[in-house]
Amino acid sequence: MAEALTPHLSALLWWVPLLPLMAGGIIAFLPDARGRIASKLAIGALFVSCLLAIGALVCVLVPGTTHVPSALTWFTFGDVALKVGLLLDPLSAGMAAMVTFVALWIFIYSHGYMHDEKRFGRFFGFLSLFCGAMLLLVLSNSLLLLFMAWELVGLASYLLIGFHFEKPSAAAAAQKAFITTRVGDMAFFLGMIWLHGHSGTLLFYDGGNGLLESGALKSLAGVTTFGGLTVSAAASLLLLAGAMGKSGQVPLHTWLPDAMEGPTPVSALIHAATMVAAGVFLVARAHPIFSLGGDTGIALTATAWIGAITALYAALVALAQYDIKRILAYSTVSQLGFMMVALGTGGVAAAMFHLIAHAFFKALLFLSAGSVIHGCHGEQDIRKMGGLRKAMPKTFLAYAVGMMALAGFPFVFSGFWSKEAILHSAEVWPGGKGPFLMAAAAALLTAFYMTRQALLVFFGIPREPGAHHPHESPAVMIAPLCVLAAGAVLLSIIGTPLWPWFEKWLHGERAEFHSGAFGGHGAMGLLLLSVVIVTAGVGLSWMIYRKISGDSGTPDPLSGKLGGFWRFLENAMGFDAFYGKFVIAPLAFFAGGIDALEKLVFVPLMGLAECVLKLCGAITLSTDERVINGGFDGASTGLRQRADSTSRSQTGRPQGYLRAIGPGVALLLALYFWLSQQS
């Protein structure tokens, strides 16, 4: 089947992103009242594109399948032809299949979750746009097309985070997400132009002339620019800045926790399949450029360190949060940091495996959190929950699977193997042990805070029993949870060191089953270390939070021990305050100055201009009225009077006419005879 499909693939591949985009476009023209059709349209379109994406994945499953690029010229500008196209290789096919599959279940879940929403149809339109843009992004064969899809993803996330725009906090969060990622996008754009300036192409693969193929790479590495950086390193750093904005890396991460203002399925989509995966995907896609400077080149070193700092920072902050979704948000930031560590230390396969595994269990966690919030009538504070295990057994099970996958519980969960692969890649990195140690600490904290959250939400007794009666969610919301939970577990099969199928496949090799994987290079030790880390995290948390008080007002047991540091963590280490003081305040001051300038200078100037224009208008008006109108009026009045007097001769009486004709004929005859006699 794969062979039969391959020739049609480049044409069929376009439909993968096009179908959701078209569904979004059609929904945009549906009235809000037709929302039920909108959800069916969106789910149907995504289902077909999911089938296509899985078909494409099957086509490249054969090891050694090379890239299937396609390119068509978008426009020609002088001598420069800008080409766009789609690319099918293991990386893009895997991502597309994951995005469509996870998003499909999130769509189905949304159908239940957003049931009472009055802008139901619009929500599905935005979701479709979001998904279509992300699919275009992962399948793109051109940095330009990728950038366009990247911006579309940003737009869709803005629309969805601000979906409840009548809430001021949601509107502010949407703006924050848009503007913060814009900082990174600017760097991405500059890097893209720079690459184009040096290589003359933005296509990734183009039969030997592409950006990621040896010719262009050689020329990029050969040119040095200011500070002794090669162009490739400089452009990589700019692309990295773009990825940092999109993937919520420190210091551009502040928008991601605020993005929780969006409806929960949106959070799941942003955190799992679409938005934040884009940055990691970009670095993975452009990895040949990043790695031009060697394993310890500046671009890769920066990636690894930023990832490590982010992973540790977000794991620390997540300790001290109370909002169920905020904890998950910080855990996403932290996991994205892990992926960056893997990319920086050369483990592209580890990063992509963690990305896909993370998509499954993070979507699962967010959807379970949504189910919890749905069941608790909108309550999001974990201090007010507790004991939900009995009221929502199915949700609890799904949540437990997601939580253990995220915490990296040994052996049966995908999160364990992907995190282990990342730690392995960081450990063998020649550039230093810093990122490895920080990532290991972050892994410990991850296990800790996830256990804390699970204990506070599902165990113990309900801390505010009178406030709400929790209930289990409907089947349309539970079914996606089951599928995603199965995925979070089953994915671990393809990523274990015993049978590293995924890693080999990404590199186009065939996987061998080798039982000696744990023998060499201290791999067994690392595996043991992972197990110890997770067990320690879970155990510590269990000891501290096992006997939590039944009163929702009781402070967190850790807050007393940590004191000021706890409050520091609770405020997310003051990033927002810092930006408020040193970025927003100067900008606001500047904006105030501009405003004053406008009021004092431009408004009077415009007033003056208005007066002059009004005067001119008045002069023109009077000229028009008096000279031109008057002239024509006078002429036509005169004509009419003349016509009146002349028309009086037309009496309407035939006898009168005859009386005039008679003498006339006589006169003419006389004239005729007289003239004929003259000649």
Binding site: S647, T651, G652, P654, Q655, L658
Partner: protein, 103 residues
């Protein structure tokens, strides 16, 4: 006077009489009568020129007159019908009152 001159004088008188009636009468029926007089003056001319002119074995003059009389009869019928309709409309046959086409 020759007989031809006498007949031409008679027809001229008849034509002038008819024209006078057409120009001066107010009653539409009398105008129609005037028109008939003018037609018959022309008929007299046809017959007179045929009778006293060069010999004509094909009887062109009487044939013309026969046609002319037939046309006059048809014209009188149409004219009277028009006058009848006008009378039904306006309750009058006074031509001076039928001046709705005036300027």
């Amino acid at each position: 006077m020759t007989p031809l001159a006498l007949l031409l004088t008679l027809s001229s008188a008849l034509f002038t009489l008819g024209l006078f009636a057409v120009l001066t009468r107010r009653n539409a029926i009398l105008v129609l009568v005037g028109i008939e007089l003018m037609l018959n003056a022309a008929n007299i001319n046809f017959i007179a020129f045929w009778r006293y002119g060069p010999p004509d074995p094909e009887l062109a003059g009487p044939v013309f007159v026969l046609f002319s009389i037939a046309i006059a009869a048809a014209e009188a019928a149409v004219g009277l019908a028009i006058i009848l309709m006008v009378f039904r409309h306006t309750r009058s046959t006074d031509l001076n009152k039928l001046d709705s086409l005036h300027g």
